[in-house]
Symmetry: C2
Subunit: 253 residues, 2 copies
DNA sequence: ATGGTCGTTGCATACATCGCAACGTGCCTG
DNA sequence: CAGGCACGTTGCGATGTATGCAACGACCAT
């Protein structure tokens, strides 16, 4: 809608691929160098890009701060977190919390028992939307026409032999998740990883987030993981209750 | 430099404070509603802002993805990470990695033994620049005039009685760090927390990052923590060697 | 019903952005 | 060492674009 801003913002994903110099930026934007320079300078002033010692530009530090603050503003995360921790203590497996936004599903929290160190590598990253259990729950709650439209637009990469192959299969998965009130991903993303997920609902009953427990085959079989389903659902319901204000934030009675 | 982009980008920190509606954004920008609307729409198209169900705007998901990718592009982090983990295994305390950028110092990695879950709450956040041990090392490496100029510009909040009180004291701290080749923060940020830090240098000898080990008084005294200094310095030197290409990425012989 | 608030649209004007061309600087080459 | 090349930078005039206005429509509360 606004040409100048549009161009300026297009620089960001471009720099996300790696540092670039003025000429490269100008070329890829299809504008004159002087134009690119002015845009980059403005981005620089706001800290969104950084000029490293070799004069090339890369994404700047302010992005981190903004992303942080954006997270802090997601109150669902704050409410859910202690529940996720408790669930993790009970079952020992990796616990995820995800939300849906603009045709993307992304993890906004994660508690991992075994490899705590690698946490940050996933939070904030878009999820494999066609196979992840949490994605199925979040998208299943969309109005039917939107669901169909989205299903058509998506790609269906075959991560494994059990990945959702196409739109029709995906819509069936969503329908199933919708009726069950929970969902699974059995080796659809990575061969040896299974997930069980349950939805978190707001006061109006709409799904606002989804949480899942994931574990590799070598630790527990898919069947064993499914025995955790009641626990996962109870946890999700507890979060729902607190989020929608039904459960007046009590100190765990 | 570019009015339109400048205005658009000013919206981001504004929304970082919390969701806002069109009118609020327009007011705080000092522009007409229709102008703010177009800017917000452009930001929206790029996923930087999100319109929640109550029609208010907040920061969007793309910010997470961008911040992620920005991190991935910091190759110092990738190189350093295994070293941080090893150090953490050896001493058990929290290990930080920080860089300096645009008069800010920020953590870009952290390994924490006891509370892995809260990791994300700090990575990406600016550091208390006047007291943190890593900040002293990073800023000590600046050319003298820049150092003075920066020291004057800073605020010196008294987090504790041992916080650096003013520019003069800060410059003395930097000088000390410069000569020693390491630095400490003994209760300058939080009364009961001590840190020991060492610099990571590039091929040209300039400080490109700094790492630290932090521990609360109740676990180890400041003196005990200081006994870790040789280990911390060795680790930092190992990272320096690998980063500057001196140590050809060997599989730990 | 009705006043008020808020988001949205079309439009004419003013102004900010754009591309151009020229300059400066550093680097490599002949 | 001179010359050429590549790159970032600056000033400027023409054009296109962003701007604010005013009017509309939806929604809520009184």
């Amino acid at each position: 809608m606004s040409q100048t801003v549009d161009r300026a913002l297009s620089i960001l994903p471009l720099l996300a691929e790696g540092p670039a110099d003025l000429g490269q930026v100008a070329d890829r934007l299809g504008v004159h160098k002087s134009t690119a320079l002015r845009l980059l300078r403005t981005l620089h002033q706001h800290g969104l890009v950084y000029r490293q010692s070799d004069q090339r530009y890369r994404l700047g530090a302010r992005l981190f701060a903004l992303a942080q603050e954006a997270m802090d503003n997601l109150d669902i995360r704050e409410i859910a977190h202690p529940h996720l921790v408790r669930l993790n203590e009970q079952c020992g497996h990796t616990v995820h919390l995800a939300v849906h936004e603009e045709n993307e599903v992304l993890y906004i929290d994660k508690v991992e028992s075994r490899y705590p160190v690698r946490m940050y590598s996933r939070i904030g990253r878009p999820v494999a939307i066609t196979v992840a259990a949490v994605a199925k729950l979040l998208l299943a709650d969309l109005p039917e026409p939107e669901r169909r439209a989205l299903a058509q637009k998506l790609d269906y990469p075959l991560y494994t032999a059990r990945s959702t192959p196409n739109a029709a299969a995906f819509l069936r998965e969503l329908e199933k998740a919708r009726h069950q009130g929970w969902a699974t991903d059995l080796g659809g993303h990575e061969e040896s990883i299974n997930c069980v997920a349950a939805p978190v609902r707001g006061a109006d009953g709409r799904v606002v987030a989804a949480m899942s427990v994931s574990a590799p085959n070598v630790v527990v079989t898919a069947d064993e993981l499914l025995t955790l389903l009641p626990l996962v659902r109870r946890t999700a319901d507890a979060i729902s209750g607190e989020y929608s204000g039904r459960t007046p934030v009590e100190e765990s009675v």
